[in-house]
């Protein structure tokens, strides 16, 4: 886990002091709202439907126990006792008071956290595979690259006022758990045929009102060229960047309009011109950062622990949870365990201060002090010994976070929607709750198998509905909430954008609509092992459309 050096500490503390002064000048009226708004946004502070909202960066989704405890303390001292984990691996507090925000930022700084660049037209918090350092097939820990990019992009003088926000994700495995294809730039750590480690670079992906899948910009970029190449890619975008129309300002539109070949030509030209030596990370600095991500010393354990097997037999709910919510670990005798923040009928991604503290305690005791936040709005304990898994499970039962539903129909992603968000056009959370309650039976969830439902409460797509197997987009039609359904979206390679079924449905109809889609899939699948997505890709939209619109037409 990366630790701030003296420079980092000073940088973040100076930033807190600066914002404290800005808030104080705002409260006395020395700064007008027009002057203050961009300053607060640079510090992650939005004004939402009911209150201010503070978005805190969780770099590459990694937290230590002490940091999770601090989030709990902030939730209790300055908010309403809970926080909301987002699809970008961050956390949002929904009710801070303006005068308290400097104190909150001070508290965050004390545990090496901040809210810088969680808003605004800059390079946002860098995301990464939440199972970094866990998977047996990983080439190297992607967080080393993510941290390098984070440092390079923090207050980068050329890129703090881009045409639009800019999102970068990093992975290092064949399986994509970071939705690379929908990022402005994505870095996949790969090995060349010669055995050299480098990056496959993708560009121009994004969701929102014009969803697009990223294109390959470079099949292989040597590691030493990372920052010069990013600098070139961003510079070309920034110089072209349209500031006259925010809907056309994302890099995806530029790449689409120029064509990937022309954009690549310009990037390569700029890359050739750049003085690499001034920008590339010095080897000793890379080694310093890399050392922070050395794998924790986990004792190798051969065979399956007797206690683990015994408890699985004695407690079927534990067996179901262990089967569904764990992931293989590179160290024998260990797993990564997903803490689902999707209890049946709950608010997706929300955790109370108490739940955060228990998660922190479990991480400290049983997961090498680490937690990860996922883009599915769950939390992972990345390094749990099988022998400790039952203790972890019991800890989660005590706080109601034992849902055995990772990747199943009730593991629903939802943005805050019209219950919180000033931009939203429809509610997301109660729709997620209604669907979750409809499919509450764990046996039925397992019978249905892998199924990603994602809900956005407006066209900006924070709920990632375009890359859901069943996507739900809430809109406002003449004052009435209307929900468009898309099918067949997928975030992992081969990524796909969902296809619209047809006209939207009313708020009350959505659970029935989802149920019809699911029942149709169950009838159509060739074997119980054929997933919803596989069936959809085999049979296409028509059978689903027929069922959904048969009665209406």
């Amino acid at each position: 886990m990366y630790r701030y050096d003296e420079f980092d500490h000073r940088f973040v503390r100076e930033r807190v002091a600066e914002f404290r002064d800005q808030v104080s000048r705002r409260l006395t009226g020395a700064l007008t709202e027009d002057e203050f708004r961009p300053l607060r946004l640079m510090n992650g502070l939005y004004l939402q439907l009911h209150a201010y909202m503070l978005r805190v960066a969780i770099p590459y989704g990694t937290l230590e126990a002490r940091q999770m405890r601090m989030l709990a303390e902030i939730a209790e001292r300055w908010d309403r006792g809970y926080g909301h984990f987002t699809t970008r691996q961050n956390i949002q507090f929904n009710w801070p008071k303006l005068r308290d925000v400097p104190e909150i930022l001070e508290a965050l700084a004390s545990v090496e956290m901040h809210a810088i660049q969680t808003s605004g037209n800059c390079i946002r918090n860098v995301t990464a595979d939440p199972l970094a350092g866990v998977g047996p097939d990983e080439i190297e820990d992607p967080r080393i690259t993510a941290e390098v990019v984070r440092q390079w992009s923090s207050l980068h003088p050329e890129f703090v006022f881009l045409g639009r926000k800019f999102k970068i994700a990093v992975t290092a495995t064949e399986e994509d758990r970071a939705a690379l294809a929908v990022h402005d730039i994505a870095l996949q750590i790969v090995r060349s045929e010669a055995g050299e480690t480098g990056y496959r670079v993708l560009v121009g992906g994004g969701l929102g009102r014009t969803p697009m899948l990223a294109r390959e910009l470079r099949a292989f970029l040597p590691k030493r060229d990372l920052l010069p190449y990013l600098e070139a890619a961003l510079r070309v975008y920034n110089l072209h960047g349209r500031r006259d129309n925010k809907f056309k300002a994302r890099i995806k539109i530029l790449v689409h309009e120029l064509g990937i070949e022309e954009y690549r030509r310009q990037v390569e030209e700029e890359f050739a011109r750049i003085e690499h030596g001034h920008i590339a990370v010095p080897a000793d600095e890379l080694a310093r950062i890399g050392a922070y991500f050395a794998p924790p010393a986990l004792p190798e354990r051969t065979g399956t622990p007797v206690e683990f097997e015994r408890m699985k037999k004695l407690d079927p709910a534990f067996a179901a949870w262990a089967a569904q919510n764990t992931h293989p670990h590179r160290v024998p005798g260990h797993v990564a365990a997903t803490i689902s923040l999707k209890p049946v009928g709950g608010v997706p991604g929300d955790a109370t201060a108490e739940q955060m503290r228990v998660m922190a305690d479990l991480a400290e005791a049983h997961s090498a002090d680490e937690l990860r936040v996922t883009k599915e709005q769950n939390v992972i304990l990345p390094h749990v010994a099988l022998a400790d898994l039952y203790k972890v499970y019991r800890g989660l039962v005590a706080i109601g976070l034992d849902a055995p539903n990772r990747g199943l129909v009730t593991d629903i992603v939802a943005c805050p929607g019209l219950d919180y968000c000033a931009l939203a056009t429809a509610r997301s959370i109660p729709v997620a709750q209604a669907i979750s309650n409809r499919f509450a039976d764990p046996a039925r969830q397992r019978e249905i198998g892998p199924l990603a439902i994602k809900i956005s409460g407006c066209i900006n797509a924070c709920g990632h509905h375009h890359i859901a197997h069943i996507g739900i987009l809430g809109l406002d039609k003449a004052g009435v909430e209307s929900y468009q359904i898309t099918l067949g979206g997928e975030s992992t390679a081969p990524a796909a954008l969902g296809e619209r079924t047809g006209p939207g449905f009313s708020y009350d109809e959505v659970p029935d609509v989802v149920e019809k889609i699911v029942e149709t899939y169950l009838k159509l699948r060739e074997t119980p092992r054929e997933s919803f997505l596989q069936t959809y890709r085999r049979v296409g939209m028509e059978p689903f459309k027929e069922v959904l619109y048969a009665e209406a037409h």
Binding site: L49, H50, K97, G345
Partner: protein, 105 residues
């Protein structure tokens, strides 16, 4: 054809708290039911002018007019978004209360 004027109230966010406030007869109130209603364009302009003063005085931010119905005797926003906003809270139970509610069910 000119759009028919609908009654409006003036809303904003409190500068410090960030919550929704409405201009009432004697200052800013938290309840939309206590808001002063403009029944004509001229009255609406009057509310907007008061809002600008309050913004300049650093009491509130982001003033705008909200169309309301008076059918229930007190102003109630016509749009769902504004009704949710005026309620001051989400339409769902949230935070620790939500967890307790589910545990009790």
């Amino acid at each position: 054809m000119a759009k028919q004027f609908k009654p409006v109230v003036l809303t904003a966010n409190d500068l410090i708290e960030g919550d929704s406030v409405f201009l009432g007869p004697r200052g800013w109130v938290r309840e939309v039911a206590g808001a002063r209603v403009a029944m004509t364009e001229a009255e609406a302009e009057g509310l907007t002018a008061r809002g600008r003063e309050a913004e300049a005085g650093n009491l509130v931010v982001g003033c705008y007019l909200v169309e309301v119905s008076l059918e229930g005797g007190a102003p109630e926003p016509l749009l769902r978004r504004e009704r949710i906003r005026a309620s001051g809270v989400p339409t769902i139970t949230y935070g620790p209360a939500e967890v307790r509610e589910r545990a009790a069910a």
